[in-house]
Symmetry: C2
Amino acid sequence: MSALVLSGRELAAAIRAEAGNRAAELTAEGRPPQLAVVTATADESSAWYVRSIANAAEKTGLRCEVHDLGPDAGPTAVRERLEQLSTDPTVHGLMLQTPLPPGATLEELASAIAFEKDVDGANPLSLGRLAAGMPAFAPATAEAVVALLDFHKVPLSGRQAVVVGRSTVVGKPVAHLLLDRDATVTVCHSRTADLAAVTRTGEVLIAAVGRAHLITPDHLRPGAVVVDVGTNPTPDGGLTGDVAPGAAAVAAALTPVPGGVGPVTTALLLRHTVLAADRAG
Amino acid sequence: MSALVLSGRELAAAIRAEAGNRAAELTAEGRPPQLAVVTATADESSAWYVRSIANAAEKTGLRCEVHDLGPDAGPTAVRERLEQLSTDPTVHGLMLQTPLPPGATLEELASAIAFEKDVDGANPLSLGRLAAGMPAFAPATAEAVVALLDFHKVPLSGRQAVVVGRSTVVGKPVAHLLLDRDATVTVCHSRTADLAAVTRTGEVLIAAVGRAHLITPDHLRPGAVVVDVGTNPTPDGGLTGDVAPGAAAVAAALTPVPGGVGPVTTALLLRHTVLAADRAG
């Protein structure tokens, strides 16, 4: 027995197609949706990710402008650019790429992103509204987890979901989204006493720690559905998840890395940008 | 064997004493700390709660002004009053009492409370900042839970904490505060499949559902520490918790109702107001 593979490519294509249709209409009306990405780093994998977003936007018919402030830009320059783009009426979606300049935190800088343009849910106001059940863009990765489970018809209501990792960008917002869907949610992390004992309670397990293959077959309840959010670089230049390959023998279903949560995340950034453009009227 | 009683009265008295000392200093400097409470309801128990806050404030040497807009005030009147008090330099702490006018939600209206004066953590921005690990006032009840556990020297790091209830004012912020303290946190609720099986995993159990005696001895892991956030009215005009009396035979320790979380909550509202006055310079 090997686990069913829960690919994200079909869902991502469907989201892009829908976003592309609406983007074409808005463009025809003279208000083309535009995503602005602010970056201030020489990090290689960050640059790769930004290019992949820009490519996806272009193919989908959205404008995407990358504001590369260079690795020497300080927090003030980043904040000022975010403030400027927040009031620029031609920009509908606005995201800040990590890593950030030394001394800066994503939460502090992202507070400068206008709430309506915060397509990656990085402004703490977005997270708070999300937790309070108010309209807000969720962080795209967190939303991608639940979208992928929905697409593959994995029930969530009343089920035990375990989230490994408590980051502000993934673990915490995923926990809120799963709670909204009536799952019983456990968040565990590096300080959890017996991690495998806790993760084995999960009918649905979300691995979002950023450590290659931390989740082994021993961590899984037989028949669990496992979503792997990890994108850890491999020596040969590829990507691998937080879940060890052997997990496929215990899990009922498993998202691949790459090709699982990743493409859905990018597609959702585009959908959010089109929605923001739509609302901007 | 009967569980240790984790009273909140001593801690509340200590918090009030400290807040009172600083309030006296600030008053001597000509800037007396002031808490404003906005209410728009004829609800009896709400009026009782507001009076108890006002009394505690007065005894502690803080000013407390109750803005009673009456049960016929609409959401707009409430919002306008909150906006006005948010910019009033003599007001340092600002809270909105529930129940609210029909059609209004606490989250929407509390968005009008200036973040620095949001002493009961009701503005979604406060919740988001809290979740993101940034400075913010937590909802006083949620903070009281953790403060009471700390006061009674209950360790949290690495332990399994179960929160019953997922409200924006208690369950969710308590979960974040416990995560910050390195507990492994499970949130369960009315849709949880086998509630007792989940709550029995809790070394620390927080009952915040608002249903009298929902948590029975059968829900408890032997030796658990139980914090009862419930304040349910009894036929004789008293209050009773979410935890059934028999729980004392199974738990190692238990907070009483009344006299547990409640007095600490009120004391923390005063502490937050003094802190806000301090910061307002």
